[in-house]
């Protein structure tokens, strides 16, 4: 069964006279990594925002496990079903790393008994030790913030993980580590991982590569 299905999705920004996305059709399944490539401004991030439930499409429908996203409580969907790794991290900067994770767990209604230990373990998995986790986000490097962003996206054990240029701000070593995590998420934990990227290195780990051109999503290749 497809985890996520896009049917004839179109999107137009308010006040714009041109569709950013038009007739987008795609199917995304669990256990696979998908990358979406395209020029800047092609609509990649917009597509991710629609998939993430941060915005609603102008036309068409996005179906998550047989249910139209429009019929779902999008707040609940974001809190429980999908994890988003933002290019610019979008963390609570005046909170610590661990507080970011704990808050995300609380919002999703995570029933873990020892939430703090679970959060530390999650951070450790993405290469953040306790000392770093207890520091304010503002005092962390870009790489560390990105890892915390990844940990936060995974904190509520979502079915879908989407990442917008997850390695755009990272050095090559950190980039490799992040890609390992994403690969493991799809192949070992059965998540559906969708990555928007410009990076060839990121594309190289994908099971399927899609491209956006002139507002249309086109299948490019299998890995």
């Amino acid at each position: 069964m497809n985890t996520l299905t896009l049917k004839n999705v179109a999107y137009q920004y308010e006040g714009a006279n041109k569709l950013v996305l038009k007739g987008v059709n795609a199917e995304f399944s669990s256990g696979k990594i998908y990358t979406i490539v395209g020029k800047s401004g092609a609509g990649k991030s917009t597509l991710l925002a629609l998939i993430a439930g941060l915005d609603v499409c102008t036309e068409g429908e996005i179906i998550y496990k047989d249910t139209n996203l429009m019929e779902l409580d999008r707040d609940d969907y974001r809190a429980k079903s999908i994890g988003v790794i933002f290019q610019s991290f979008n963390l609570l900067t005046n909170a610590t790393g661990i507080e970011n994770i704990l808050l995300s767990m609380s919002i999703s209604g995570n029933q873990e008994k020892n939430k703090k230990e679970y959060a530390y373990a999650l951070l450790e998995k993405v290469g953040i030790d306790r000392e770093t986790a207890d520091r304010k986000v503002l005092k962390l490097s870009g790489g560390e913030q990105q890892r915390i962003g990844i940990a936060r996206a995974l904190s509520h054990n979502p079915d879908i993980v989407i990442a917008d240029e997850p390695t755009g701000n990272l050095d090559s070593d950190t980039e490799a580590a992040v890609l390992n995590i994403l690969t493991s998420l799809a192949h070992d934990e059965g998540k559906c991982v969708i990555i928007v990227t410009h990076s060839k290195k990121v594309t190289s780990i994908a099971d399927e590569v899609w491209g956006i051109n002139d507002g249309k999503l086109l299948f490019v290749k299998h890995s």
């Binding site: 993430a52 941060l54 429980k80 610019s88 609570l92 808050l103 919002i107 936060r152």
Partner: protein
């Protein structure tokens, strides 16, 4: 729960902004506490005085009106019709009264008993008889009996005040029962159960002829009282003015034996001071002469409570002004603060936090800040209330004094009225923090917190997470 925990952490995370907001709230709460303490304390004082001054009705001849109606040419003056005993009793039945006390008194002389200090009377011999001069006496007229004692009906208040105490027997209940002072009892070797004979002259004028009749009454002593007050209240030491010679009996005994020949003092207490007009109309309908003035002691009330009322108004006005200005500043500050927090709200919304929970979080933060300010404000406000009150009150008293002097009136003298030197303005108000103050300040604090949050909450509902995050990016 996590909303509250996160709100608590957020307060620490944004110290600078929250200290600023907290300072404004603290000032507002402190001012409100001071004002409400003053307001509530003065309100209870005013209510108390209002009920005391405003509810006791005085019925007295309106001399100003009577004099103004005097014919200058002929010198003819209007006759003020006396209020009869029956009228006093009828007035007491009014529905507007919560209480009435009618006291009757008549001068008497003992028939076989002597009054205390009777022998000291220089000009008067107890029980002595005199012919009445002036009008011609009718043939069956008796000699006038000079009173040496007072027979008083329904005068029990001094037993409650502690000046008098029943030391033997019991209070009179039935007609023709009485109690006497220990001094009078000792002087005449009287005890409970004994009977005493009293006499009083009744003067009537018919066809320009005076008739004096002697009225005899026999009363049974049911009790003996001890009187702790001074015997005389004036320098005239004649026996009829001696308190020890007061024979106390029931009002029924007085009405039965002395009817219209006794002096009556009536005190009427209104259920509410505002009922004065209705009560007066009722009295007029029952035949009260137009030359009687029906009033409460409004001047006395104003003199005593005026400065406190001024203090109450000032404190309340000050609080309202400060609250309005403070609330405006708070809303502006809160709007600016939430703009700074737009990104944070966007992140929370992107993480799936519902709008109402974000709003609840912001409200919780404001409530926590307000609660902290409330605790500090209570301490500061309670300490500051008394000195602030003293300062304001002294200013009010000075103003009132100046105003009184300007209008040619000294304190303690009412315009057109008697000297009332005992009426001095309240110079001390003991401020206390009552339950009503606590409830009111809690409501004000809650409103302040909510008002400050509304600005933030309204912004939250405007923001879509994607827009906030895109702006940020």
């Amino acid at each position: 729960m996590y909303i509250f925990v996160n709100a608590l952490k957020n307060i620490g995370r944004n110290k600078g902004r929250n200290i600023l907001i907290g300072t404004i709230i603290l000032v507002l709460i402190t001012v409100s506490i001071v004002s409400l303490c003053i307001n509530n304390t003065t309100r209870s004082i005013i209510d108390d005085y209002k009920s005391r001054f405003g509810s006791e009705v005085t019925i007295a001849p309106d001399m100003t009106k009577a004099m103004s109606m005097t014919d200058i040419m002929s010198g003819e003056r209007p006759t003020i019709k006396r209020i009869t005993s029956q009228q006093y009793l009828d007035f007491a039945k009014s529905q507007y009264l919560k209480e009435s006390v009618i006291t009757a008194v008549t001068g008497v002389a003992g028939d076989g008993i002597k009054a205390v200090d009777e022998d000291n009377n220089s000009n008067v011999v107890g029980g002595a008889v005199f012919s009445v001069s002036g009008s011609s006496s009718s043939s069956d007229s008796e000699d006038y009996v000079m009173p040496t004692m007072n027979l008083i009906g329904n005068k029990w208040d001094e037993f409650n005040d502690g000046f008098r105490k029943l030391i033997d027997g019991e209070m009179p209940i039935n007609e023709n029962e009485c109690i006497i002072s220990k001094d009078l009892a000792d002087l005449n070797s009287l005890k409970v159960g004994d009977k005493i004979k009293l006499k009083s002259s009744i003067i009537s004028i018919e066809n320009n002829e005076q008739t004096v009749k002697t009225k005899y009454v026999e009363l049974e002593i049911t009790g003996i009282y001890f009187d702790a007050a001074e015997e005389y209240t004036s320098q005239f030491k004649i026996s009829s003015l001696n308190r020890r010679n007061e024979i106390l009996t029931t009002i029924d005994t007085m009405f039965k034996n002395f009817g219209n020949i006794m002096g009556i003092t009536a005190k009427y207490y209104l259920k509410n001071p505002s009922m004065l007009k209705d009560f007066e109309a009722e009295l007029r309908a029952q035949g009260l002469d137009e030359y009687y003035l029906v009033s409460t002691d409004e001047a006395g009330y104003q003199k005593v409570v005026g400065p406190v009322e001024g203090l109450k108004k000032i404190s309340l006005t000050f609080m309202i002004i400060v609250l309005i200005f403070g609330a405006v500043i708070l809303v502006l500050l809160s709007s600016i603060a939430v703009r700074e927090r737009k990104y944070e709200i966007g992140v929370l919304r992107a993480m799936g936090m519902k709008k109402k929970k974000v709003a609840l979080g912001l409200w919780s933060e404001m409530l926590i800040i307000t609660a902290i300010c409330l605790i500090i404000g209570f301490g500061v406000g309670s300490l500051a209330a008394q000195p602030v009150c003293d300062t304001l009150l002294s200013g009010q008293i000075e103003s009132a004094k100046a105003a009184a002097q300007q209008s040619g009136m000294q304190f303690g003298i009412a315009l057109g009225g008697p000297m009332k030197n005992e009426l001095v303005p309240l110079e001390q108000v003991d401020i206390s923090v009552g339950t009503d103050t606590i409830i009111e300040i809690a409501v004000i604090a809650l409103l302040l917190a909510s008002l400050a949050s509304i600005a933030a909450i309204s912004k939250v509902t405007e923001y879509e997470p994607i827009k906030i995050l895109m702006e940020r990016n």
